[in-house]
Symmetry: C2
């Protein structure tokens, strides 16, 4: 029997996971893993922590050495190699070695497109020309920023999404004076609602970060190198010049879809690659996974560019298993279970934010409470605030948790509740654990169901 030959484009979380699961599913299949960067899979999410040296060395982020792929899992890893063309009828890809310039055409039985995405900048005058302005997307970006941060004094971070917020923390840890500028009225706007983000702002300010929300970065000012960032409050139109010898832009990404489009792969309404539950594209034998794809949101059903490591590895696993002849399926939608830590504060969410729900035409019933991570009588309990959304029948539509302890695993409880179709009525009676030193008899997870139920019952 002919061996299956699987070609994977992109060795990020999605692509590398696909390659590994293909081999795990069928040891005999042949896998070629192609990556433009000079490194195999590394943790993109870990990059901000290399700036502060909390993660001491860049090499810590690299999952496995190139030799591991060759020798241990028998994957044909091609680094610094770009796919320049694909022929989905002939089932071939044309690749180019970026070091030697050598081109090669290789055939595939199954193709996995995991090309990822790249950062984009909002229109800021001078941002492209001046030195000292960075994105944080690749290991090389992190190396450049870390080197620059050694000499820099003032950093301005543009965009208070996950990357911006984490970069800001690490620049502070590195010893810089940091300002963060967010176009929307609150921090982490795609993750949590403004009434949860106030704690994040407080935590940042407590650590010396200047926070400018509802503010547009208008221009990067300086000579050859950046010296200041001109910002304008969107409400008052007041402007200010923020000193900056380092600017980091974390303001969104676009998917790499050129290769997919060359293969005839259809993009979805979001312009990301469209896949089904098996991570199949519209073209036979071509799969796609990770940051270049869209996937239905679990709650709204709307296709969503998900851009998360957790989803990338899950889609990668599905691609790998299916490409190698196994059978795997993604859940029907993605929850976007997300977490970050800003200094001592943990911030988590699952499902759409209120603004996202409303945009989908959903007016949720809202419950929100503040409690403690431990029983009141036990010392050391920490503040925890939780907000939950439900529909009129009690179906859980999302949650946000902000606090100083246990936040990440609590959001996982809500993720499990949502994925399994639990209602707030079920959540009210969830038998959580309790011990003095650990958590209260009624966890905020269950208590938050009560105000929601009260509101639902009142409406009946």
């Amino acid at each position: 029997m002919k061996l299956t030959k699987i070609v994977v484009i992109g060795a990020g979380a999605a692509g590398a996971t696909a390659a590994l699961w293909a081999k795990k599913t069928d040891r005999k299949c042949e896998v070629v893993l192609i990556n433009r960067e000079p490194y195999p899979e590394y943790s993109r999410c870990g990059l901000p922590y290399t700036i502060s040296k909390i993660i001491p060395d860049f090499s810590n982020l690299i999952e496995h050495e190139p030799s591991w792929y060759e020798n241990f899992v028998k994957i044909d890893l091609r680094l610094e190699t770009e796919v320049i063309d694909v022929d989905s009828k002939a089932k071939t890809v044309k690749i180019k070695n970026l070091k030697t310039g050598q081109e090669e055409t290789i055939s595939y039985d199954k193709l996995v497109i995991a090309t990822g995405s790249y950062p984009v900048a909002p229109p800021i005058e001078g941002a492209k020309e001046k030195k000292g302005v960075y994105f944080l997307r690749t290991l090389k970006d992190a190396m450049d920023i870390e080197a620059a941060a050694q000499k820099a004094k003032n950093a301005v971070v543009i965009g208070a999404g996950l990357i911006g917020v984490e970069a800001a923390e690490n620049l502070v840890e590195k010893g810089l004076k940091v300002a963060i500028v967010e176009f929307l009225p609150s921090l982490l706007p795609l993750m949590i609602d403004p009434d949860m983000a106030d704690l994040v702002e407080e935590e940042m300010k407590k650590h010396g970060i200047e926070v400018y929300t509802n503010t547009a970065a208008k221009a990067v000012i300086g000579g050859e190198k950046v010296e200041k960032v001109l910002v304008e409050c969107r409400e008052t139109k007041e402007t200010k010049e923020l000193p900056a010898d380092l600017v980091l832009i974390g303001a969104g990404v676009r998917p790499y879809t050129e290769i997919a489009q060359k293969a005839g792969v259809q993009l979805g309404t979001t312009k990301y690659i469209k896949v089904n539950e098996k991570c199949e594209t519209n073209i036979p034998d071509i799969y796609s996974a990770g940051d270049c794809t869209e996937y239905p949101d679990f709650v709204t059903g709307e296709p969503t560019p998900q851009g998360m490591g957790t989803i990338a590895v899950r889609m990668g696993k599905v691609c790998g298993i299916n490409a190698a002849g196994g059978e795997a399926k993604m859940p029907k939608g993605v929850l976007l279970t997300r977490i970050t830590k800003i200094f001592d504060l943990q911030v988590a969410a699952v499902g759409p934010t209120l603004a996202q729900l409303e945009r989908a035409g959903i007016k949720p019933v809202i419950g929100k409470i503040t409690g403690s991570s431990k029983p009141g009588y036990f010392p050391g309990g920490k503040l925890i605030r939780i907000k939950i959304f439900s529909d009129e029948n009690g179906r859980i539509l999302g949650a946000q948790i902000v606090g100083y302890e246990d936040v990440h695993q609590k959001i996982n409880v809500i993720a499990a509740a949502m994925q399994s179709g639990m209602t707030v009525y079920d959540l009210e009676w969830l038998e959580t654990c309790y011990a003095p030193a650990s958590c209260p008899t009624w966890d905020v997870l269950t208590l938050v169901a009560e105000p929601v139920i009260k509101k639902i019952e009142k409406k009946k």
Copy 2:
């Protein structure tokens, strides 16, 4: 309309919760809350921590002052008062003030029996006669032990259940030399399997506790006061005398059911009070909740004396709502989601142990893995071991987690998964959160599903 009069016997977690939820459900109902002890509700689970002064003052454990009941929630609280008789036809209880000796007969429309349980000792020669031998069940017990521990040097804890283990830790923190003696072959035998308990034993020994498992306490030796405990290894029959000026017995409990039986309330097969999902007993208008009751185990369906604070408050809530004319139901079974902390180690379980499953005629499929609380590349990740049980169709039957971080909320994820009927196939794809500083892309919670699925598929 006549006001509903609700009498609650016992102001522990179950009884006090019932009283409060009755008032919450119908502000106008009259509630009499009767307690034999001189204090209203306090945290029984917090008692061990008063020995070490981790909880600095006994009063910290008391939920609310007596005046709060009278003035704020308008509950007629009767402390140091015992119920000496009940007439379920006339719907009256006869109570006696233990201070004054005065007796009174009061009527009820609804009666809640939350009489709790009391500790019992295995047959140990001299245990009843000698001074210096304690149970740890009431606030008074804790006060006595704390006072004794101030002068004591050597403590022997008999029984390595939750109370024994937590007491041992706190006696060490107090400065005593501690030995713990467990009849069964491993620590926390009703909570975790022997192959998970080794980490508990290691943690105890690391903190200087002598651990004697598979060992019977045969006699308490001394003059008027205890001086030694004679123990015998059940396997080798080797004996040893352990020095002890303080002995603490945590070897199980029995329910207070006399009053219930006087009322004609039926006990279940376990000799605890039998209730249905509404916490109704067999006698009309008599409810029961908490440590004096049995309830079906979620997995085996077998009636189980549950004896846990989390379940007590849930049953109390159900009683209170129903007694006041509302409608509430317990989930169909209890998960016994449980957690404790032994020095730095957290130990949690949900559902039956392997021995308990086997006793119920269930031979589960088992998955067990060891991982880290954080991504491999991030510093500070801590060991976490997880074991999960499933039936042949993938239904989750229980789990045990032991580790140094995040254990309590992880067990809550499995509790939610069990309560909502998730299978290991669902768990494998659960979209947990991920961030470098928080937890890995594949949490051990999801990874542990893989070996189970592999075994299930192999059997097909």
